[in-house]
């Protein structure tokens, strides 16, 4: 079973994402900001990360930069999931090593098709 880390400061979004991805036979862990996500990744690298951009303490963009410099940190597929939906944000995210990008609001079909796109499903 593949392991996905859902990183979002909104517990509602985490819950929705968890429900969608558990429905796809994935094991889910949650973090509410980049810093706790990083701590979880150091313990066990997930296969995929669904990542919000704007979060307190450490945002998604900084998290991604840190993650990619960790040993084994280039392995997880990272799918941004954010209300930042303009070209410049998307470009920055891809340059920083994101694999896919979901613009909020999303539905289950968008999440699952993006996860399939990066080979997680």
């Amino acid at each position: 079973m593949k392991h996905c880390l859902v990183v979002d400061d909104s517990s509602v979004i985490r819950k929705v994402a968890r429900r969608i991805l558990e429905g796809c036979e994935m094991r889910i862990s949650e973090a509410e900001n980049g810093q706790s996500a990083l701590a979880l990744c150091k313990q066990a690298m997930p296969d995929g990360i669904l990542l919000d951009w704007n979060m307190p303490i450490m945002d998604g963009f900084d998290f991604l930069a840190e993650l990619r410099s960790l040993p084994g940190g280039d392995a997880p597929k990272v799918v941004f999931c954010t209300t930042e939906n303009d070209v410049s944000h998307i470009t920055r995210a891809l340059r920083a090593g994101a694999d896919e990008y979901v613009m909020k609001p999303f539905d289950s079909e968008i999440i699952t098709s993006k996860f399939a796109e990066v080979g997680l499903l």
């Binding site: 939906n85 303009d86 070209v87 891809l94 990008y101 979901v102 613009m103 968008i110």
Partner: protein, 285 residues
């Protein structure tokens, strides 16, 4: 709506668009045509059926037909047909047409354009190899409204997230407010027009690739066979036809059969015994 009126509507729809609609789909007719009746100031579907039966209002007839179409579509739908396009169809055709350097592709029920634009994006990836080629994509649909949207090439945030990899979004689309418009270069590759598959389409010319997906399912066997036979007549001898996963033309017409190279791939021939396949048909799994 009386049973006689329902029967009238069902026959009307079958004649106009091929759509086969049984009594069990009464709810669908009510859901789709209720709003049309309302817009027209008609009190009920009975009144709508009566107005159609009088036959005077051509615009109403077109509206009814369009309202009953299912336009569901998305970019790179089902994946496999597009992989087969790049891995099987294009290599063969680019070798076989190396002298005339022309390629004609038809998306025969294109809805809002995601299917032909997906093909255009794949062709754009091969721009260098196709330099000097005349590549044309013709995209047609019965419903004028979706064809107009397709021409605009303007898609909602939801639509561009369904099946379209983010890198292709960045590469080929520009953001306009909440929506995304596909590049002029790709729009120019695709010629959109309204066209009813039940009518004669021989004037479209000859195609090397035909995508006719998720439309035959709405037709009865006789209509399917007729459309498929005429599609076969509009195709190059070594052309490819791609149908949807629920559509099995080889069971309906002897013009196509399974391609030996892989499951789901079909070819033209006189039944299963024919040795050299002339026309290939690819079915998504």
């Amino acid at each position: 709506m009386t049973p006689a009126q329902f029967a009238f509507l069902a026959k009307f729809l079958k004649d106009r668009s091929g759509l086969v609609i049984g009594e069990d789909k009464r709810y669908l007719v009510e859901a789709r045509l209720g709003p049309v009746a309302h817009q027209r100031g008609l009190a009920s579907l009975s009144d709508l059926a009566a107005a159609l039966a009088r036959g005077a209002d051509l615009d109403l007839a077109a509206r009814v037909v369009e309202a009953m179409t299912t336009n569901e579509t998305f970019f790179f739908r089902d994946g496999a047909p597009f992989t087969l396009f790049t891995d099987v169809m294009l290599p063969h055709l680019m070798a076989a047409r190396a002298r005339e350097k022309t390629l004609r592709i038809w998306s025969a029920a294109c809805s809002s354009g995601q299917e032909p634009y997906s093909l255009a994006m794949l062709l754009a990836e091969r721009k260098a190899q196709l330099a000097g080629w005349r590549v044309e994509i013709v995209a047609t649909d019965l419903a004028g409204e979706v064809v107009e949207r397709a021409k605009e090439g303007l898609f909602s945030q939801f639509e561009v997230q369904r099946g379209l990899p983010i890198k292709l979004l960045l590469k080929h689309f520009a953001q306009e407010g909440e929506r995304w418009r596909i590049d002029a270069a790709l729009r120019q590759m695709v010629h959109f027009r309204t066209l009813n598959l039940l009518r004669d389409f021989s004037a479209l010319g000859r195609f090397d690739v035909v995508f006719c997906r998720n439309v035959l399912i709405y037709f009865d066997a006789e209509t399917k066979a007729d459309v498929l036979n005429r599609i076969a007549a509009s195709m190059a001898p070594d052309g490819y036809l791609m149908v949807g996963s629920a559509e099995a033309p080889e069971a309906i017409t002897r013009r196509f059969r399974a391609h030996p190279s892989r499951g789901g791939l079909l070819v033209k021939g006189e039944g299963a015994a024919s040795a050299a396949p002339a026309l290939s048909l690819v079915a998504a799994r």
